[in-house]
Amino acid sequence: MKDKYRLKKWQELPPGGVITEGGNAADYETGTWRTWRPVWEEKNCIHCLTCWVFCPEGAFLLRDGKTPSGKDRKEIRKIDYFYCKGCGLCVRECPVNKKGAKEVIQFVREET
């Protein structure tokens, strides 16, 4: 872990400072920014993907699933805390949370 975040020496960099791999920001951990943590529970989730489309970090991971009537669909699998910055957009925009009776995503203080 420590080795990964050390600054590279100039001899180790590609000539011209070219980034050789697209999308390699995925190696960078932004989860350390978090002070509040969204906790997703499957029990009340309707899998509408609202949190997935609004999450700026792409921290909601999906899996293949089926609707109650048997059609193929994508479902929420879990929150990737490696990337989640804890902004709380998912907690606020979740339509089940908005109705107020049940809670799918809880927002809890990060333990230090």
Partner: protein, 308 residues
């Protein structure tokens, strides 16, 4: 929503691990770019938050070919890319069809980049220009821009006892682009992903120049909580400060008409940058703001009725 299910099957153009602020809604539309269309795309970014935060060396968040350029020439550069591709196709070096997307913030579009944007649109390049409007130069520390609304506090238009924030009205770039008579101009907002993805798809796939203006709240610049971005964008549409509409070959279509138009104060007073306007001393500014919003909305409805 079946549309989201379709989008979920494809890979995003923008990876996780970028360093935009927590709660910044800009990645909501950058992730959509490849999800909405089957074309291969090339993206060019003008200087701005998105460009800076997505490409901090030695990392890049872009999974599509991406070029960075200066503030003033994102549109000029992408017209060059588009022309090169056209030449390659004519000389049979490739038979693939790629589409070009240029992305700029409001500083790089409303103020600095407007001449290259205007020229690219006038020349008719097959190009989609996306402007994400957060209402100031947020990347360099919240300086006023042509898109900053009346009365907003920024670091260059501070609030005092004599002056309350910006003294001028914002310019309406979408209307300037409509006046270019290009095939597609639209105004979208990040709170409505279905509408937004439809507009991005149309803008990319249409043959000819297209322009899309997206309202994208800024967490530190608007002085709001990190989870408020989507809600404030929604309020922008509800108060008609930011009407969602599209203009295809000069045919106006309003995509969202609020059932009950909210007063503009609902949108203003949820933001820290307008909090001084609560003072009765500045009520004439709020009134000016409301008048401008009403005028724009009436103009839009009139145009829609006229071109039906």
């Amino acid at each position: 929503m079946p549309k989201l299910q379709e989008m979920a099957k494809k890979e995003a153009a923008f990876s996780s691990g970028h360093r935009l602020c927590a709660g910044c809604p800009v990645p909501i539309f950058t992730k959509m770019l490849t999800r909405v269309t089957d074309y291969d795309i090339v993206v060019g970014s003008a200087t701005g938050c998105l460009e800076v935060a997505s490409s901090i060396f030695p990392y890049s968040a872009w999974k599509v070919p991406w070029i960075h350029t200066a503030f003033e020439n994102a549109a000029a550069m992408m017209s060059g890319v588009e022309t090169l591709h056209k030449v390659h196709r004519r000389k049979n070096k490739t038979d693939k069809k790629i589409k070009c997307v240029a992305i700029g913030g409001d500083g790089g579009t409303y103020d600095i980049g407007i001449q290259s944007l205007s020229a690219a649109m006038e020349r008719g390049h097959d190009l989609l220009y996306i402007c994400y409007d957060n209402g100031a130069y947020m990347n360099t520390g919240i300086q006023r821009s042509g898109a900053t609304p009346l009365g907003a506090a920024t670091t260059t238009t501070p609030v005092g006892t004599v002056v309350a924030g910006k003294q001028q009205q914002r310019k309406d770039l979408t209307r300037i682009m409509i006046a270019h008579h290009i095939p597609y101009v639209a105004q979208a907002s990040i709170h409505n992903p279905v509408d937004l993805s439809n507009k991005i798809k149309k803008g990319i796939e249409i043959d000819g120049p297209a322009f899309l203006n997206i309202l994208s709240p800024c967490i530190p610049g608007w002085r709001i909580a990190p989870d408020m971005a989507v809600e404030l964008a929604g309020l922008g549409a509800e108060t008609c400060f930011w009407p969602l509409y599209e203009v295809e070959d000069q045919n106006f279509k309003v995509n969202y008409e609020p059932k009950k138009k909210l007063p503009v104060t609902d949108w203003l007073f949820t933001q820290g940058r307008f909090r001084h306007l609560r003072d009765a001393k500045w009520s004439h500014l709020v009134q000016d703001f409301q008048t401008r919003v009403d005028q724009q909305w009436d103009w839009l409805l009139g145009r829609q009725a006229a071109t039906k």
